[in-house]
C-alpha cells in the first residue's frame, strides 16, 4: 500500500456507488421493493468497507514526523472557459476519513432499520432511492477538496432532506415542513454562496489544498487576513462568518433552527439519519474543514472574531434548545431540540479551538442520537403511530429490548460518568470552555446545558417507559430487523468512549496529529471538572425523577413542571414564540413585499403594457384609416379623374383628318402670330 | 332620237344655262370670240417673253423671195407708221394681228382643202369618186359643209352639263391653234421665238385631253363618256413615244427650240443628201415612231377606235351638232397639221430644200409642201390600214412603241458619239433593227399566219 495512486479511485467510488443505486431505483419500477432496498444497502455497505480501508490507510500512515497530519489531495479540471479554468478535487485526511466511516456505518444501519419500518409504505422504493441520493450527497460533501464541490453536494443534501421530509406528500404538514426546511437552509446557503464567491474573487481558487496555493494554505490565508474589507474587518473573518451562516442554517443553530423540529414530520429513519447523525453534522464538518480560515488572524495570540462568534452562537443555541426541549410533549420534538443543543455544544467546541473535541462529540452524538431516534421510531411503530409521550407510559414491560437500548442512549446523551462516550466528549468541551481566555460565560452556559439535558431526558424516560400505559393501542416489541441495528448502535455509543479518554487521547492525536501514548493515570487529570459534571448530571436525574417519577402521570393534566412555573412552561412549550416572531417580522415583510410587487405588477407594469398595447392599436388603426381614406380613396379619385380626362382626350382622336388638319392649321397660325409679332 | 329619260334626281336643280340652245348665232359668235380672245392673250404673253416674228420688224434681204411675207409685213407696218402715225404699241399690236391673221387664214384654207381632199382620196382608194357635186371636182364641198355646219340646229342634250358642253370645243381648238405659233415656217419666220418650243408643243398637246374629257362628260351620254375615256387613255399612252422620239432629236440638236433644230439639219451630205435627221438610221426609226404616235395623238386612221363610225359613232363628239361639231372637226384637223408640221421640223429639216439645187424655192413653201405630204400620207394610211382593236392599240403603245423609243434614243446616242461615220451608222442601224426583229418574232409566235377561215361562207 506504499503508493497512494489508488486512493483517488476509492475516494470518488465511495459517493458514486450510492448515486448509482439511486439512479437505478429511480429508473426501475416502483414495485421492485426488494431491488431498491437491496441496492441501497449493498452500495452503502461497499462504501462502508472502502471507507474502512481508507481509514486504516490513514491510521497506518500515522501522523508522520513533526506532527504533520496525513493529507492527500487529488485535483482535476472540471471545465475551462477562456484563460482560466475551474478545478475540483478530492481530499483524504483524518478528519473526513473518520466522518466517512461514521456516515457510511450509521447510514447502513438506518437503511437496514427502515426496511422494517417502511414495510407497509407504498413508496418503499422511492424512499430508498432518496436515501441513496442523500448518502451520495453526504459522502460527496465529505470527500470534497474544493469549496465548489462541497457546495454542490451541500445543495444536494438540502434537496434530499426536502424530498425525505416531504416524503408523505399527502400530509400538508409534511409538505409545509419540507418547504420550511428547504427555505431556511437556503437562507443559510446564501451566506455560504456569497462567501464562496468572495473567496474565489479574492484568492482566485476554490480548492482547499492545492499544493500550497489552496484556500486553506498559508500563503492564501496570509493574503486573506491582510486585506481588509468594509468596517475594518479582515477578509478571512468576513468570509468565515459568511461560511458560518451556511453552517448555522444547515446545523440548525440559533437564528435558523426553526426548521429542525418541524422536520420531524418525515419518517423516523429519515429524522434519525438526516436530522440526527449526518446532515446536521455537515455544518459542523464545514466549520471543522475550514477551521484554518476561521482561526486565521494577524497575530496568533488573539482569537479571531469568527471563532468567538461561533463560540457564542454555539453556547446560546445549546442552552436555548435545551430549555425548549424540557417543555415538549412530542417524543421526536424533544429529541430534535436535544440535537439542536448538542450541535450548539459542537459549535462551542469548535469555537473554543478543539477540533478533535468537536469532532469526537459529533461522532459520538451521531451514534447515540441515531440510537434514540430509532428507539423512538420502534416505540412509535409499536404504539401504532402515536407520538405524544403523554399517551405512552409503562413501555419497559411491553418493549423491554427497546427500553434497554433506549436507556443506554439516554445515559450516553446526558453524559453518565465513565462508561458512556457522551460523558467524555462533554468533559472535553467543558474543559476547553473552562480555559477559554475570552470569557467564562460559555463555560457556565455549558454546565447549565448539561444539567438541562439530563433533566429532560429523564423526564422523557419516565413519561415513556415508567408508570402505566396511558395510550389506547396495545404496544408491541419491534421485529428483530429493527432491534439489531439498535443494539449495534448502542454498543457503538459505549465503545467509542475508549478512544477519547484522557488516558489514551488517540482520537485527539488522530485528528490533530502528534504522537499518542497510553497512560492510565492521565484519566484523572481534570478530576475537579469531572466531579462537577457528575454532580450536575446526578442532580438533573434526581430533580427529573422527583417531579415525574413519584406520582402517576396523566394524559391531559398539566405537566408537573407546568404546575411549578406555568407561564414559563407554556412559553417553552410554544418554542419561545420564535416562529411567531418570524411570522410577525420576516414573513409579514415578505408578504408586504409580495403585495407591493403584486400591486406594482398589476398597476404599473400591466398598466404600462396595456398602455403600449393601446398605443400600438391606436397607431395601427390610425395608419389603417389614413391608408383607407387618404391613399385608397385619393388614389381611386385620381384614377377616375385620369380615366375621365383620358376619355375626353381620346374623343379628339376620332380619325377625322380634317379636324386634325384644322388643329394643325390653327397651331400654325398661332405660331406664326407668335413669331411674326414677337 | 328619244330624249333619254333621265332619272328624276339627276334633274339639275339649278337654272339651266341653256341660252346656247335657243340662239345659235349667239353661240357661234361666243365661240369665235372665245377662240380669238384666248389665242390672242396667249400670243401676247408669249410675245412679251420672246419677241419674235410677231413684233420684230426685221427686214432681212429685201429681195429674197424667201422673206416675202416678212417684207410685206414690214412694208405694211412702215406704211401704217408713216401714214397713220400710230403709237408704237399700236404698231406692235397690229403686227401681231397681221401674223395671227395670216396664220389663221393659211391654215383655214388648208383645213378646208384637206377636208375635201381627204374625202376625195378615201373615195379614190375605195374605188369611187368622192364629193364632186358642189362645184368642179367638188371644190366647193368644204364651203357646203361649212354652211351646213352653221345652219344646223345646235342640239344640247337635256341633263347635259351646258357649260361643259359649250366649253369642250373651245378647249380642243385653242391649244391646236396655239401650237402653230411656234412652228418655224421659214428662215426667221417663227411667229414666237421660244427657247422651249418643243416643250410648248407637248404641253399644249396635253391640254387637249381635258377638252376631250369635257366633251365626253358634258354630253351626259354614257357612250360618249366611254368614248372620251378611251380616247384620253389612247392619247396619254401615245404621248410618251411621241415625246421619246422628239427627245432623241432634241438630244442631238442640243436645244429645245424648233429653229435651232431646223438649223441643225442644214447642209447636205455627198452634195445631194440633206442633213435631215430622217436620213439617219435612228432618225428614220424615230420618224416612223413619231408619225404613228402622231396619228394616234390626233385620233386618226388605225387608231381612231373611239370615234370610229362602226364603234361608238363619233365617240365623245356624238352629242355635238352644228357649229360645235364643226369646231371639233376643225380642231382635229389643225391638230393634225400642227403635229405634221412638228414632224417636219424635227425630222424632215423644216424649211430646208431636199436638194441643193432646189433651194431657190422659198423655205416656207418647202415647209408647207412637206407638211401636206405628211397629211396626204395620213389620209392614205387612213384609207388602207384597218382599225386596231382596243387592247392591241394600248398594248402596241406600251409594249412596243416605248421600248422602241428608248432604242431610238440609244441609237441616236451611239450614232452621235460614233462621229457619224460608217461604224456609227452600222451600230445605230443594228440597235434600231433589234426591236423590229423582236416584234416580228413575237407576232409570229402569238399570231401564226394561217389560212383565213370563213366561218359563214363557203370558201
Amino acid at each position: 500500500m506504499a503508493d497512494s495512486s489508488w486512493i483517488p479511485y476509492l475516494l470518488c467510488l465511495i459517493p458514486l456507488l450510492p448515486l448509482a443505486a439511486a439512479g437505478v431505483t429511480a429508473l426501475s419500477n416502483p414495485s421492485h421493493r426488494r431491488l431498491a432496498s437491496g441496492l441501497t444497502i449493498g452500495s452503502l455497505s461497499i462504501a462502508f468497507i472502502l471507507a474502512l480501508v481508507l481509514f486504516i490507510q490513514v491510521v497506518g500512515a500515522g501522523s508522520g514526523e513533526g506532527g504533520e497530519v496525513f493529507r492527500r489531495s487529488f485535483n482535476f479540471t472540471w471545465f475551462e472557459f477562456g484563460a482560466s479554468s475551474l478545478r475540483l478535487g478530492l481530499l483524504l485526511d483524518p478528519l473526513n476519513a473518520g466522518m466517512l466511516v461514521m456516515v457510511s456505518f450509521v447510514g447502513l444501519l438506518i437503511c437496514i432499520f427502515s426496511v422494517g419500518y417502511m414495510q407497509e409504505d407504498a413508496n418503499f422504493a422511492r424512499f430508498f432511492g432518496f436515501l441513496a441520493l442523500f448518502s451520495f450527497a453526504m459522502l460527496g460533501l465529505l470527500v470534497a477538496n474544493s469549496l465548489l464541490l462541497l457546495f454542490i453536494c451541500w445543495e444536494l443534501v438540502g434537496l434530499a432532506s426536502y424530498l425525505l421530509i416531504g416524503f408523505w406528500y399527502q400530509k400538508p404538514a409534511a409538505v409545509a415542513a419540507s418547504r420550511k426546511a428547504f427555505i431556511t437552509t437556503r437562507i443559510g446557503d446564501l451566506g455560504l454562496f456569497l462567501g464562496m464567491i468572495w473567496l474565489y474573487s479574492e484568492s482566485g481558487t476554490l480548492l482547499f489544498y492545492d499544493g500550497g496555493a489552496g484556500l486553506l494554505e498559508a500563503s492564501t490565508l496570509a493574503h486573506l487576513t491582510t486585506t481588509l474589507t468594509v468596517g475594518g474587518m479582515a477578509l478571512s473573518t468576513a468570509t468565515a462568518l459568511l461560511l458560518f451562516c451556511g453552517a448555522a442554517g444547515k446545523s440548525g443553530q440559533f437564528p435558523l433552527h426553526v426548521w429542525l423540529p418541524d422536520a420531524m414530520e418525515g419518517p423516523t429513519p429519515v429524522s434519525a439519519l438526516i436530522h440526527a447523525a449526518t446532515m446536521v453534522a455537515a455544518g459542523v464538518f464545514l466549520v471543522a474543514r475550514a477551521f484554518p480560515l476561521f482561526a486565521a488572524s494577524t497575530d496568533p495570540e488573539v482569537i479571531s472574531t469568527a471563532l468567538q462568534v461561533v463560540t457564542w452562537v454555539g453556547a446560546v443555541t445549546a442552552v436555548f434548545a435545551a430549555c425548549i426541549a424540557v417543555a415538549q410533549t412530542d417524543i421526536k420534538r424533544i429529541l430534535a431540540f436535544s440535537t439542536i443543543s448538542q450541535l450548539g455544544y459542537m459549535m462551542l467546541a469548535l469555537g473554543l479551538g478543539g477540533i478533535s473535541a468537536g469532532m469526537f462529540h459529533l461522532i459520538a452524538h451521531a451514534f447515540f442520537k441515531a440510537l434514540l431516534f430509532l428507539g423512538a421510531g420502534s416505540v412509535i411503530h409499536g404504539c401504532h403511530e402515536v407520538q405524544d409521550i403523554r399517551q405512552m407510559g409503562g413501555l419497559r414491560r411491553k418493549m423491554p429490548l427497546t427500553f434497554a437500548v433506549y436507556a443506554v442512549g439516554m445515559m450516553a446523551l446526558s453524559g453518565f460518568p465513565f462508561l458512556f462516550s457522551g460523558f467524555w466528549s462533554k468533559e472535553e468541551i467543558l474543559h476547553l470552555a473552562q480555559v477559554w481566555p475570552v470569557s467564562s460565560l460559555p463555560f457556565y452556559l455549558a454546565l447549565f446545558g448539561a444539567f438541562l439535558t439530563a433533566f429532560y431526558m429523564t423526564r422523557q424516560m419516565i413519561y415513556v417507559f415508567f408508570g402505566n400505559y396511558r395510550g389506547s393501542h396495545s404496544p408491541h416489541e419491534s421485529p428483530r430487523v429493527m432491534t439489531v441495528p439498535l443494539m449495534l448502535l448502542a454498543s457503538g455509543a459505549v465503545l467509542l468512549s475508549l478512544i477519547a479518554t484522557p488516558a489514551w487521547a488517540w482520537f485527539h492525536h488522530f485528528i490533530q496529529g502528534g504522537p499518542t501514548h497510553f497512560e492510565l493515570a492521565a484519566i484523572f487529570e481534570g478530576w475537579g471538572l469531572m466531579l462537577l459534571s457528575i454532580v450536575l448530571v446526578g442532580s438533573g436525574v434526581g430533580i427529573g425523577w422527583w417531579l415525574y417519577g413519584r406520582r402517576a402521570l396523566t394524559v391531559v393534566g398539566a405537566d408537573a413542571l407546568e404546575q411549578k412555573v406555568p407561564r414559563l412552561y407554556q412559553a417553552l412549550a410554544q418554542r419561545l414564540y420564535i416562529d411567531e416572531f418570524y411570522e410577525a417580522t420576516v414573513i409579514r415583510l415578505q408578504r408586504l413585499l409580495a403585495q407591493v410587487a403584486e400591486v406594482l405588477e398589476r398597476r404599473v407594469w400591466a398598466g404600462a403594457v396595456t398602455l403600449v398595447a393601446a398605443v400600438c392599436r391606436g397607431v395601427s388603426c390610425l395608419s389603417r384609416s389614413i391608408d383607407r381614406n387618404f391613399f385608397n380613396r385619393g388614389f381611386d379619385q385620381g384614377c377616375t379623374s385620369l380615366r375621365g380626362s383620358g376619355g375626353r382626350v381620346a374623343r379628339w382622336q376620332n380619325g377625322d383628318i380634317q379636324t386634325y388638319l384644322g388643329w394643325v392649321g390653327s397651331g400654325v397660325v398661332l405660331l406664326l402670330i407668335f413669331f411674326a409679332w414677337l | 332620237m328619244l330624249p333619254t329619260e333621265t332619272h328624276p334626281q339627276t334633274q339639275r336643280n339649278r337654272p339651266a344655262l341653256n341660252f346656247a340652245a335657243r340662239r345659235p348665232w349667239s353661240t357661234l359668235a361666243l365661240l369665235i370670240a372665245a377662240v380669238l380672245v384666248v389665242g390672242a392673250g396667249v400670243l401676247f404673253l408669249l410675245n412679251l417673253k420672246a419677241p419674235g416674228l410677231l413684233t420684230g420688224a426685221v427686214v432681212a434681204a429685201m429681195g429674197d423671195p424667201g422673206q416675202a411675207p416678212l417684207i410685206l409685213k414690214a412694208g405694211l407696218l412702215h406704211y401704217l407708221e408713216t401714214a397713220w402715225s400710230c403709237a408704237p404699241w399700236m404698231l406692235e399690236l397690229t403686227s401681231i394681228f397681221i401674223v395671227i391673221g395670216t396664220l389663221l387664214s393659211v391654215f383655214g384654207v388648208i383645213f378646208a382643202l384637206t377636208s375635201l381632199v381627204e374625202r376625195k382620196m378615201l373615195a379614190r382608194i375605195q374605188n369611187r369618186f368622192g364629193p364632186n357635186r358642189a362645184g368642179p371636182w367638188g371644190l366647193f364641198q368644204p364651203l357646203a359643209d361649212a354652211i351646213k355646219m352653221l345652219t344646223k340646229e345646235d342640239i344640247v342634250p337635256t341633263g347635259a352639263d351646258k357649260v361643259l358642253h359649250l366649253l369642250a370645243p373651245i378647249t380642243m381648238l385653242v391649244p391646236a391653234l396655239l401650237v402653230l405659233a411656234i412652228l418655224p415656217y421659214g428662215p426667221g419666220m417663227v411667229p414666237v421665238e421660244l427657247g422651249v418650243g418643243i416643250l410648248f408643243f407637248f404641253a399644249l398637246g396635253a391640254t387637249t385631253e381635258v377638252g376631250v374629257f369635257m366633251a365626253g362628260w358634258g354630253s351626259n351620254n354614257k357612250y360618249s363618256l366611254l368614248g372620251a375615256m378611251r380616247s384620253i387613255a389612247q392619247m396619254i399612252s401615245y404621248e410618251i413615244p411621241l415625246f421619246l422620239a422628239a427627245l432623241a432629236v432634241v438630244m442631238l440638236s442640243g436645244s429645245l427650240s424648233p429653229d435651232a433644230i431646223v438649223s441643225a439639219q442644214d447642209g447636205y451630205v455627198f452634195s445631194f443628201v440633206p442633213h435631215w435627221f430622217v436620213f439617219t438610221p435612228w432618225g428614220f426609226a424615230g420618224f416612223l415612231l413619231f408619225f404613228t404616235a402622231a396619228l394616234a395623238e390626233s385620233n386618226r386612221s388605225p387608231f381612231d377606235l373611239p370615234e370610229g363610225e362602226s364603234e361608238l359613232v363619233a365617240g365623245h363628239m356624238t352629242e355635238y351638232s352644228g357649229f360645235k361639231y364643226a369646231v371639233f372637226f376643225m380642231a382635229e384637223y389643225i391638230g393634225l397639221f400642227a403635229i405634221c408640221g412638228f414632224a417636219v421640223t424635227l425630222f424632215l429639216g423644216g424649211w430646208h430644200a431636199p436638194l441643193p439645187w432646189l433651194e431657190w424655192i422659198p423655205g416656207y413653201l418647202w415647209f408647207f409642201i412637206k407638211l401636206y405630204a405628211l397629211v396626204l400620207l395620213a389620209i392614205w394610211v387612213r384609207g388602207t390600214v384597218p382599225r386596231m382593236r382596243g387592247d392591241h392599240l394600248m398594248g402596241f403603245a406600251w409594249k412596243f412603241m416605248i421600248p422602241m423609243g428608248f432604242a431610238v434614243i440609244l441609237a441616236a446616242a451611239v450614232w452621235h458619239y460614233a462621229g457619224g461615220g460608217v461604224p456609227g451608222w452600222l451600230a445605230s442601224a443594228v440597235i434600231v433593227l433589234m426591236p423590229y426583229l423582236a416584234l416580228g418574232r413575237v407576232v409570229a409566235i402569238q399570231y401564226p399566219a394561217s389560212r383565213r377561215v370563213y366561218r359563214f361562207s363557203e370558201s
Binding site: - | 401676247f44 427657247g195 399644249l204
Partner: protein
C-alpha cells in the same frame, strides 16, 4: 415687270387663277371643281410665264394639266355615287372653323409679307432661264435628287397601279 401689258396680263391671269381656285373650292359639283382645278393649273402656268420661267410653266402645263387634272377627272367619275348628286349636308356650320383658320393663315402671312423688307427691294432684270443651264445643274449638282425622283416616280406609279388593279379581281 413694268410694261402695261405685263400688268394687264398679271391682273388677268391672277384673277383667272383666283376665280378658278374659288370655283374649285366652292362649286358643288365635283366635276366642275376638277375642271376649275385644271384652269387653276393653266393660270399658274401663265404666272410662271410672267415670272420668265417658261420652262417651268410648260412643265407645269404638261404635268399638271395633262396628267394630274385628267387623273382627278377620272377618279371623280369613278367615285361618283350612282345618284349623281352628292348629298351635301348643311355645310354652313362646318365651314366656319375651316374658313377662320384659312383666313387666319392668310392674314398672318399677309402681315408678314407687308412687314418684310422685300417690299423695298428693286426689281432685278429678268434672267433668262436657259434650258442648258438647268440641264447641266440637274445632271451635275442635283444628280442624286434626279435619281431619287426617278426611283420615287417608278415606285409610286407601280404602287398606284397595284392599288387600282387590285380592284379588278373583284376583291
Amino acid at each position: 415687270m413694268n410694261s402695261l401689258f405685263e400688268i394687264i396680263a398679271f391682273l388677268l391671269i391672277g384673277s383667272l387663277t383666283l376665280g378658278a381656285a374659288v370655283a374649285a373650292v366652292g362649286l358643288r359639283d365635283t366635276v366642275h371643281c376638277g375642271l376649275s382645278l385644271a384652269v387653276v393649273f393653266v393660270g399658274v402656268a401663265g404666272l410662271y410665264l410672267l415670272l420668265d420661267a417658261e420652262f417651268i410653266g410648260f412643265i407645269q402645263l404638261l404635268v399638271y394639266v395633262g396628267a394630274v387634272a385628267v387623273l382627278v377627272m377620272f377618279v371623280i367619275l369613278i367615285t361618283r355615287p350612282e345618284d349623281g348628286v352628292i348629298q351635301q349636308p348643311d355645310r354652313r356650320r362646318q365651314k366656319l372653323p375651316g374658313a377662320l383658320i384659312a383666313a387666319g393663315i392668310f392674314l398672318v402671312t399677309y402681315g408678314a409679307i407687308m412687314q418684310s423688307p422685300s417690299l423695298r427691294r428693286d426689281v432685278p432684270e429678268p434672267a433668262a432661264l436657259s434650258i442648258r443651264a438647268v440641264g447641266e445643274a440637274l445632271v451635275s449638282g442635283h444628280l442624286l435628287p434626279l435619281m431619287a425622283i426617278g426611283v420615287l416616280l417608278t415606285t409610286a406609279l407601280i404602287g398606284a397601279a397595284l392599288f387600282a388593279m387590285e380592284g379588278e379581281d373583284g376583291k
